[in-house]
Every structure is written in structure tokens, then in C-alpha cells.
């Protein structure tokens, strides 16, 4: 009924066959969530082209988009430009009315198109602007979904400079328009398809690497809790000595305790406990460290190679291994950047600590070098006759390795104690938190590295994506770091 009214009042306006771009359902499925500008542009251009060729009102609209049959759906193009727009501006007026009613409901029924003078361009512009805001999402969806030639009347109501350009062009360029434009549209389609595929592949890769990471972590946890106990000596895979296996088990337990201590310190710092309470907690943490050095001492007696080759640590830690553990001077160096502003006395204390650890490390390293040289000489020399003798001598020399690992651990222990002495209770608490978190991150780095995506079937851009993927996984496990 309303449409009748429109017709009668604006007599010269032909009945607007609801002209909707008919979207085949297959296209909608293909698009999925990706919005495809290539196809949109194509849709617009094709519609423009078709509109200049085909007569109006040729086909019926798709039933699916005819949501409000009483209100014919119309599209109208931008007000500026060719004469066609002038011709159809009145159509647009009713179209505005019709379409805005969809968004605004019954309210618009009161709005009479009579009041609007299609000839008044300012109103027309206003209406078009309103339409833009209302319609564009719908229009875009519809336009992009379509790949078929346009049917029915008018052009899409989108102020696209490209379509204007084409409208403004004369009939001469229409043929060129077809060839060039079609080629470009085809290329756009290709590019869009490619990017869709790439995105899908990337997402799949991300998912699979995430799953793998979680699986690896589960395995790691399980292995830790079982203590790597492969039945030292016995069984097929018994290439780990019992002393080493026992130490690995104890170290795993120590790491869990470490985590608990760190949480305790963190909450104590955040709760702003008194210095006395904090000191108690901190002393507990120092004792915890003393414990691991004691355990390492025991392990050094039974299997010094296990310690000195770093098989008890993660690969990333092993990279920085010095004489069976961390390098104290490196730790102090790392801390100087992290510690709060220090008093001058503290600065001197830390500086002296840095220097003395460096000197001690140098001395121990030189001592170990001499041992290695002597061992080399023993193993290299010796004839076939007294080879057993030389082996015995070499064995004797090897026992000195234990001494060096012991001294290195002693150095580490002393360094931690000295830090505790130089700093205030609060500073020391923060310092030990930093140390714990640092090694936690190093351990996490090892597991992330082990689970990094390694597929190469996708192109170079995916390899770049892989590094960002790794960064994203790291960022997403920031909580994981703080747990350490």
C-alpha cells in the first residue's frame, strides 16, 4: 500500500522493481569471514557496466532479499556525476524511504515521501548520507557476495570514486574498460584467493603448534614427575647412571620448591610485609639454594660428567654452562641492570663482587685447562704395553674434575650469599626474584624452541609468520613466566 502511495504521488517514477543483486548461496559460503575487496570492486564495476547496457526492470529480484515486499528495495548512486543520477534521484528518494524503513521500523511509515522534493538537491544529499550510514553494511555484503551480472534498475549507492570515473567516461572507453578492468578484476580475485588460502594455512599452523606446545609441556611435566628414571643400568635405554637419575629427580623436586619459594617472596613483597618477616622468608630461600649445591656435591661424587656436561639442565641453560652451572659473574652483570638504585656503598659492593667473581672464575678455568692438558698428555702418550697404566693414571686425573665442579658450585653459593649481604632485605628479595624468573624464562625458552613450528611447505611469508607466531605464544604465556 505504501508503495502505491509512492507511485501515485511521484507519478513519473516508475515502479521500482525490487532490484537486488542475486547472490548465489555458494558465494556466500566461499567468503566465510573474509571480506573481499577484489570481488566488491568487481561487483560494482560490473553493475555499472551492465546498467549501461541492459534495460531496466528485466529480471525479478531474489526472493531471499525481498524481506519487505511492500517496500521495494532500491539502490541509488551518488548525487554528483552524470545525468542518470538526476533521472533517478526521485527513485532514490523513495528508495531512501524504503530502505530506511527497514532499519527504523514503523516510524517511517508516517514519513511521507510527498514532503520530500526530489528536486531539492540538499535534501537529497542528506537522505543519501543517511542512507550511507544505514545501508553500507548491508550493501557491501550484498555487493561482495554477488558475482553475477546485475539485474534490474540502478547502481549501488556507494560513493566510489572509481565507479564515478567510469560513469563519467564516454562510450569510447567502455570497451577498454572491459578488457583492462576485467583483467585487473581477475587479478584481484586471484590475490584475494591467495590471501585467503594463506590466512587459512597460517591459522592451521598456529593451532597445531599451540597443541604441540601444550603436549610437550605435559610430557615434560610427566617426565619430571617420574624423574627420568629409566632404570639406570638396566633395560634397553639405560644410558643414564643411577647417581645422575637420582640427582635429576631431586633437581626436579627442587625446581618445584623453587617455584613455591618465589611465589612466597612475590606475595610477601606485594603485601609489604615487615623487614623481619621478609628476612625469614629470604633466609629460607637461601637455605633452599644451599640445598641444591649440597645435592650437586653429592652427585659430583657419583657422576661428575652428568653435571659438567649439563645434562641435568635444559638446552638453553646448557648454552651458557660454565663448569657444571651458571657463571656467577654473568649473573652479577645481569643483576646490576635490574637492581633498584643502590647506595654508593652497595654500588661498590656489587662492583667488587663482579670483579672477585671474575677473578675466581678465571683462576678456576685456568686450573681446569691445566687438568685437561695433563689428561690429554696422558691419554695421547703411552705405548701398547703400558696402556693400562696410562688409563689408570688418566682415571686418577679425572677424579680431580669433581674438585673443580665443587669449587665452581662453592663460588656460586658464595656469590648468592654475598648478594644477600650487600643488599637490603627488600632489595635482596627482589634480586632473588629476578634470578628465579630469569632462569625460569631460560627454561621456558628451551621448551618453546623445542616446539617451534618447522613446516616449510608454505611459502616464505609463513616463515615470517612463524616467528611472529612464536612471539605471540611467548606473549600469551607471560603468565607462565610469572609463575616461574
Amino acid at each position: 500500500m505504501a508503495s502505491h502511495r509512492i507511485e501515485s504521488d511521484l507519478g513519473h517514477i516508475p515502479y521500482a522493481v525490487p532490484h537486488i543483486i542475486h547472490p548465489p548461496s555458494t558465494f556466500i559460503n566461499q567468503e566465510g569471514s573474509a571480506f573481499d575487496f577484489g570481488e566488491l570492486e568487481e561487483a560494482i564495476v560490473l553493475q555499472t557496466v551492465n546498467d549501461t547496457k541492459q534495460p531496466l526492470y528485466t529480471e525479478k529480484p531474489a526472493a531471499t532479499l525481498e524481506m519487505f515486499p511492500s517496500w521495494p528495495m532500491r539502490f541509488h548512486h551518488t548525487p554528483r556525476g552524470s545525468s542518470k543520477s538526476g533521472e533517478e534521484s526521485t527513485d532514490s528518494g523513495s528508495a531512501v524511504h524504503a530502505l530506511s524503513s527497514r532499519g527504523e521500523g514503523s516510524r517511517l511509515e508516517l514519513e511521507s515521501p510527498v514532503g520530500r522534493k526530489a528536486s531539492s538537491s540538499s535534501d537529497h544529499h542528506q537522505m543519501i548520507d543517511q542512507m550511507h550510514h544505514l545501508q553500507i553494511p548491508q550493501q557491501l555484503e550484498v555487493a561482495s557476495a554477488s558475482n553475477s551480472p546485475r539485474t534490474g534498475i540502478s547502481q549501488p549507492q556507494l560513493a566510489r570514486p572509481t565507479s564515478e570515473k567510469r560513469r563519467g567516461a564516454g562510450s569510447n572507453s567502455e570497451r577498454m574498460l572491459d578488457a583492462k578492468t576485467l583483467r585487473r578484476l581477475a587479478q584481484n580475485r586471484e590475490a584475494a584467493k591467495k590471501s585467503r588460502l594463506r590466512k587459512k594455512a597460517y591459522v592451521q599452523q598456529l593451532e597445531s603448534s599451540r597443541i604441540r606446545l601444550s603436549q610437550l609441556e605435559q610430557d615434560l611435566q610427566r617426565a619430571r614427575s617420574q624423574g627420568f628414571f629409566m632404570g639406570g643400568g638396566g633395560g634397553a635405554g639405560g644410558n643414564i647412571s643411577s647417581g645422575a637419575a637420582i640427582f635429576d629427580m631431586e633437581y626436579a623436586r627442587w625446581l618445584e620448591d623453587d617455584h613455591k619459594h618465589m611465589t612466597e617472596i612475590r606475595t610477601a613483597l606485594q603485601a609489604h610485609l615487615s623487614d623481619g618477616d621478609l628476612r625469614v622468608i629470604l633466609d629460607g630461600y637461601i637455605t633452599h639454594y644451599d640445598e641444591i649445591f649440597r645435592l650437586k656435591g653429592v652427585a659430583a661424587k657419583s657422576d661428575v660428567f652428568h653435571l659438567i656436561t649439563g645434562m641435568w639442565t635444559t638446552p638453553a641453560e646448557r648454552c651458557f654452562l660454565w663448569m657444571g652451572g651458571f657463571r656467577p659473574s654473568e649473573l652479577v652483570k645481569m643483576l646490576t641492570a635490574q637492581l633498584d638504585p643502590l647506595t654508593e656503598q652497595q654500588v661498590m659492593g656489587i662492583y667488587n663482587l663482579q670483579r672477585s667473581t671474575e677473578q675466581a672464575e678465571g683462576a678456576l678455568s685456568q686450573g681446569l685447562e691445566q687438568l685437561q692438558q695433563s689428561l690429554t698428555d696422558t691419554i695421547a702418550s703411552g705405548s701398547v704395553n703400558d696402556s693400562m697404566h696410562h688409563m689408570a693414571v688418566a682415571l686418577g686425573k679425572l677424579t680431580n674434575l669433581e674438585g673443580f665442579v665443587r669449587q665452581a658450585d662453592n663460588l656460586r653459593q658464595q656469590t648468592l650469599h654475598q648478594l644477600h649481604r650487600v643488599l637490603t632485605v627488600r632489595q635482596a628479595a627482589r634480586c632473588f626474584l629476578v634470578i628465579g624468573e630469569y632462569y625460569g624464562r631460560l627454561r621456558a625458552l628451551s621448551s618453546l624452541w623445542a616446539s617451534r613450528p618447522r613446516e616449510t611447505f608454505i611459502g616464505d611469508d609463513i616463515l615470517c609468520q612463524a616467528t611472529t607466531d612464536l612471539q605471540m605464544v611467548q606473549q600469551s604465556s607471560q603468565n607462565h613466566f610469572s609463575n616461574f
Binding site: 675466581a360 686450573g367 691445566q370 674438585g403 669449587q407 658464595q414 656469590t415
Partner: protein
């Protein structure tokens, strides 16, 4: 470093003659008070090499007694082992005539900052 390994200088010879019946520990004490920094070592011991490098690295000039090369060094070695109560006898360090200890004590005292003042006090370190 002064190696008092095979020196048959007057002082050392007289020391040896005098200490024929003397307790090795007394010998140790006497030898230790003879210089600012005294290290009892074994020529084959790598840890002793490490402690020597530590002091030289600091600019100290220690007096070293290689107990495998010193006459009756075995006694001193056994005595030191008893004193330290540890598995190994050497290296042992004396500074200013006072016992610092074996390698772990030396390292600990260096890290906790007590070694350098001791050296300065004994006149072994000038800077």
C-alpha cells in the same frame, strides 16, 4: 712467585737442620710466617695451579712450597691434611702468617671481601 722447592740457600738449609726433630706443623707455622703470602702446593695438582693463578691475577707475589719437591714434604702434607680435616692436603694458603685455608675458604674469603683487606694488611697488595 718464589718457589722454595730446591733452594739450598742458607736460611732454608738451617731451617731444615733445625727442624729435624721439630713437629711438621711447627715447620709449617715457621714457613708461613716467613712471607706475606704462603702457598703449600704440589707440582702436579691442578687446583694448586688455580690458586696460584688467582693470587697472581690479583697482583700478589706468593711464596710457594711444592711439597713433592721439598725435603720431608710428605710430613708437612700429612700434617696439613690432619689440620684441614679434608680429603686433600693442598693447596693451603697462609696470609700474614695466619691460616686462610684450602681452596674453598680462599674463594669464599675473596668473594665476601675479606681476602683483599687481609692482603693489604700483610703488605702483599698495594693497590
Amino acid at each position: 712467585m718464589h718457589y722454595q722447592a730446591e733452594s739450598y740457600g742458607n736460611y732454608y738449609a738451617s731451617t731444615v737442620r733445625q727442624s729435624a726433630a721439630v713437629d711438621p706443623l711447627e715447620r709449617v707455622v715457621r714457613l708461613a710466617s716467613g712471607s706475606a703470602v704462603v702457598i703449600f702446593s704440589l707440582s702436579t695438582c691442578c687446583m694448586c695451579h688455580a690458586v696460584k693463578r688467582l693470587f697472581c691475577g690479583m697482583g700478589v707475589n706468593p711464596t710457594v712450597y711444592e711439597l713433592d719437591l721439598v725435603p720431608r714434604g710428605k710430613e708437612i702434607e700429612r700434617a696439613l691434611m690432619r689440620v684441614l680435616g679434608g680429603g686433600s692436603s693442598v693447596p693451603v694458603v697462609f696470609v700474614g702468617g695466619k691460616l686462610v685455608g684450602a681452596m674453598d675458604r680462599v674463594m669464599a674469603s675473596h668473594i665476601n671481601g675479606t681476602l683483599v683487606p687481609l692482603l693489604k694488611e700483610a703488605g702483599a697488595l698495594w693497590l
